[in-house]
């Protein structure tokens, strides 16, 4: 897929798609979407980028080290929010009860833990999908360690 047109178009399109993915993640609590769809969209854009150039370019954008931190990090954020709620004296994964500020409904920064969790999930999904794709396409896994 070394086509110049594909490259050119994807170079233009990918940032927008990524932006859209971010939007979907961040507005998950206000409009349809959320961590999963947003993360997937983001991942799809990265994969598209990688496909239209070549794989090593994509790899440079997201090294295995980073992606592994992101995978673990996304999930850790989620579980961490839950444990934070426990530390704050309420049940696991408590939100309002734990005293996270809910903000004004309808604002971007509202919903307390929901916001953070969605973000964590978004990171997680995006990095997972990208890593899965790479590990499939690379096959021989010499580079991961």
């Amino acid at each position: 897929m070394e086509d110049i047109i594909v490259r050119y178009i994807s170079r233009i399109i990918v940032p927008f798609v990524q932006l859209y993915g971010l939007y979907v993640i961040l507005h998950g609590h206000l409009s349809p979407g959320g961590g999963f769809s947003g993360g997937a969209i983001f991942a799809a854009s990265m994969i598209l980028y990688a496909l239209s150039f070549n794989l090593s370019a994509g790899t440079k954008k997201l090294s295995h080290d980073v992606s592994s931190v992101l995978e673990s990090g996304g999930a850790l954020i989620f579980a961490g929010m839950g444990l934070l709620a426990v530390l704050l004296g309420t049940n696991f994964l408590g939100n309002r009860a734990a005293g996270f500020p809910l903000g004004i409904p309808g604002n971007l920064f509202s919903g307390g833990a929901i916001m953070v969790i969605t973000f964590g999930v978004g990171i997680k999904v995006a990095s997972t999908m990208i890593t899965l794709f790479y590990s499939l396409i690379e096959g021989e896994g010499h580079s991961h360690d």
């Binding site: 998950g28 609590h29 206000l30 409009s31 349809p32 959320g34 961590g35 999963f36 995978e71 996304g74 999930a75 989620f78 579980a79 839950g82 696991f92 994964l93 939100n95 309002r96 809910l102 903000g103 004004i104 409904p105 309808g106 509202s110 919903g111 307390g112 833990a113 929901i114 969790i117 969605t118 964590g120 999930v121 997680k124 999904v125 997972t128 890593t131 899965l132 590990s135 499939l136 096959g139 896994g141 991961h144 360690d145």
Partner: protein, 89 residues
């Protein structure tokens, strides 16, 4: 022989499921058993209790956030499984 078996099996399942479909609550009927106090509270209290507008987001990240943690874990398992399988040499 095996094909015949599969076809018979599928026919039986289809028949059973279609008869079940005939018995199911009518599609989209507001009086269906699913429309009980559960979605009602989700719709009515989401804003007050979680501060978000998207009820589904409220459910997946607050009311039933534990499911979503499990879901994130499924992803995590998948990647651990796939990587460990592909790198195991």
């Amino acid at each position: 022989m095996r094909k015949l078996l599969v076809i018979v099996l599928l026919a039986v399942i289809t028949f059973a499921m279609v008869t079940t479909v005939l018995e199911m609550p009518t599609f989209g009927d507001p009086a269906n058993p699913t429309n009980n106090e559960v979605p009602e509270r989700y719709v009515q209290e989401t804003i007050r209790e979680t501060g978000v507008l998207n009820v589904i987001a409220a459910i997946i990240t607050d009311y039933r956030a534990f499911d979503t943690l499990g879901e994130a874990t499924v992803l995590f398992v998948a990647i651990a499984a796939a990587l460990s399988t592909l790198k195991a040499h």
